[in-house]
Amino acid sequence: MNGFALRWIANWLQGLGQLSLLAKEVAGSIFSRKLSGRDLVYQLYFIGVKSQSVVVITGAFTGMVMAAQTFFQFHRVRIDTATLAVVSVSMASELGPVLTGLMVAGRVGASLAAELGTMRVTEQIDALRTLASHPVDYLVVPRFLATIIALPLLTVESIALGIAAAYALCVNFLGIDAAYTWHNMVKYTDVQSVEMGIIKGFIFGAMIALISCYKGMTCGEGAEGVGRATTDAVVFSSITILISNFFLTLVLNRVLWAI
C-alpha cells in the first residue's frame, strides 16, 4: 500500500472519529435541553416546509414511472391489478425514503454546509464562541432536530403521493380496475413496509444533518473551501444513504418481521 492510500485511510478514519464526536456532542446538547424553540421552528420551516415542492415532484413522478413500467411487464401475463401493490411496497420500503433522502441531501445538505462553511470562513463561528455560545448548541442541534423530524414526515408524504399518483395513472390512463387494484395494494402492503420507510427516513435525516453540519463547520479557507464542503456534504450524504440503505433493509426486515 503506498503513502497516498495510507494518508487517505488515515484522513477518512480521522473524519469518522470527528463525526462521531460531533454526534456525541449533539446528543449531549439535546439531553441538556439548551435548545431554542424559535431556532427549531425556523429550521423546521426551512428544511421541512421549503422541501415540499422537491418531495412532491419526486414522489409523484417516481410513483407514476414505477406504475407504468410495472404495468408494461405485468400486462403481458395478465396481472395488471398487482401493479399498484408493487408500486406501494417499493415506494414504502425503498424508493420513498431513499429518493426523499437523496433529494433532501441535495437541497438541505448543500445549504447547511454552505451556510455553516460561510460562517466559519467569515469568523462568525469564532464570534459565537467568544460570545460564550457553543456552536453545536446554537447551530447544529436545531438543524439536526429539524432534519430528523422533517425527513420521516417528508418520506411519508413522498410515499403517499407516489401511491396516489400511481393509482390515478393506473385507473385513468392504463385502464386497470380501480376496486381490484386498490384491494391488492392494501392486501400486499404490510405495515412493516411503511414502518421501514419511516425508520429509514429518520436515520437518513440524522446522517444528512450530521455529515452536512460537520462538513460546513470544518470547511477549508475561502470560497474554494466552502465550495468543496458543499460538494462533499452532498456526495458523502448521498453515498452514505445508498450504502446504509442496503444494510438497513437487511436489518429492519429481520427486526420488524420478528416483532
Binding site: Q124, T130, L131, A132
Partner: protein, 248 residues
C-alpha cells in the same frame, strides 16, 4: 490577570509562535504590534482559547484555559468581548439581533430589557437608530462599531481587538480609537489590541508589545517604542523595509 507562558504554535511545518511570554494587569491597555502574517491574530486567539497551543499556557486570573474543552470555556469566555477584524457580524440577523445576541443567550433578560441595552450600546458606539438594518447595509466602519457594541453589551472584563482600524480611512480609524479609549475609561476594562497601525497603537496603548519572529521582541510604553534604537523596532515603527528580509 492575563499571563502567557512559553506559548508555541505551529501550522504544519510553519512555526508561528516560538515561546511567547508576557503578563497583562487588570485594567491595562496593551497593544501587540508586528508585521502582517507574523502571528499577532493567532496570539490574540490563544488568549480567548479560540486556538489551542502546541505547548505553553494561557492563564486568566490564575486559571490555565489553554487545554479546557469547549463547554468548560463557556464560563471563562463570559469575561471576554472580542472585536474581529471583519467584525464577524451574523449576516442573517439585524443589527439589534446581533447586538442583543449575547443577552438573549443568557436567558435572564426580558425582551424590553434587551431592547434597552441594545439601544444604549448602539448609542455608546455613536450609531443610534440603525437597529433594523442588516450588516450588509453597513459600511466597514459601521460594522466595526456594531461589532464593538456587541462585544460590550454584556459588560465583559477584558476586550480583545483584532486589527480594529485595518481597512478604515484615517478619520473613521480615529473615531474607532476614540471609542476604544472611551470604553476602557468608562468600564475600566482590560484592553488588548493587535495592529500594525502605529498611529492607532500610539493612541490607544499604555504598553506596547512587539511580536517578532514568533517571540516578544520589545515591551514598553508608546513613548519608549517611538524612541527605541533597536534596528528591528526602529524599522517597524518608521515603516522602513529591509532589503535583506524577504520573510518574517
Amino acid at each position: 490577570m492575563i499571563e502567557v507562558r512559553d506559548l508555541y504554535k505551529s501550522f504544519g511545518a510553519q512555526q508561528v509562535l516560538k515561546g511567547v511570554n508576557f503578563h497583562i494587569e487588570k485594567g491595562e491597555a496593551v497593544v501587540i504590534i508586528g508585521r502582517s502574517g507574523g502571528g499577532k491574530s493567532i496570539l490574540l486567539k490563544h488568549l480567548i482559547a479560540l486556538l489551542q497551543p502546541d505547548a505553553g499556557a494561557v492563564l486568566i486570573d490564575g486559571e490555565d484555559i489553554s487545554h479546557k474543552n469547549e463547554r468548560q470555556l463557556l464560563q471563562v469566555r463570559q469575561k471576554f468581548g472580542m472585536l474581529f477584524q471583519g467584525a464577524a457580524l451574523f449576516d442573517s440577523m439585524t443589527v439589534a439581533e446581533n447586538v442583543g445576541f449575547p443577552l438573549r443567550r443568557e436567558r435572564k433578560w426580558t425582551v424590553q430589557q434587551i431592547s434597552e441595552k441594545v439601544t444604549e450600546a448602539l448609542a455608546m458606539v455613536e450609531l443610534p437608530g440603525i437597529e433594523n438594518r442588516k450588516p450588509s447595509e453597513l459600511s466597514g466602519g459601521m460594522r466595526k462599531r456594531v461589532g464593538l457594541a456587541r462585544a460590550i453589551v454584556y459588560r465583559p472584563e477584558i476586550i480583545l481587538y483584532d486589527e480594529p482600524t485595518t481597512g478604515l480611512d484615517p478619520v473613521v480609524a480615529d473615531s474607532i480609537d476614540r471609542l476604544i479609549i472611551s470604553i476602557r475609561e468608562r468600564f475600566k476594562v482590560t484592553s488588548i489590541a493587535v495592529t500594525h497601525d502605529m498611529r492607532s497603537a500610539g493612541r490607544i496603548a499604555q504598553r506596547i508589545l512587539m511580536l517578532y519572529q514568533g517571540k516578544i521582541h520589545f515591551t514598553g510604553t508608546p513613548e519608549e517604542i517611538f524612541k527605541c534604537a533597536d534596528p528591528v523596532v526602529h524599522r517597524f515603527v518608521n515603516g522602513i523595509s529591509d532589503s535583506r528580509e524577504h520573510t518574517f
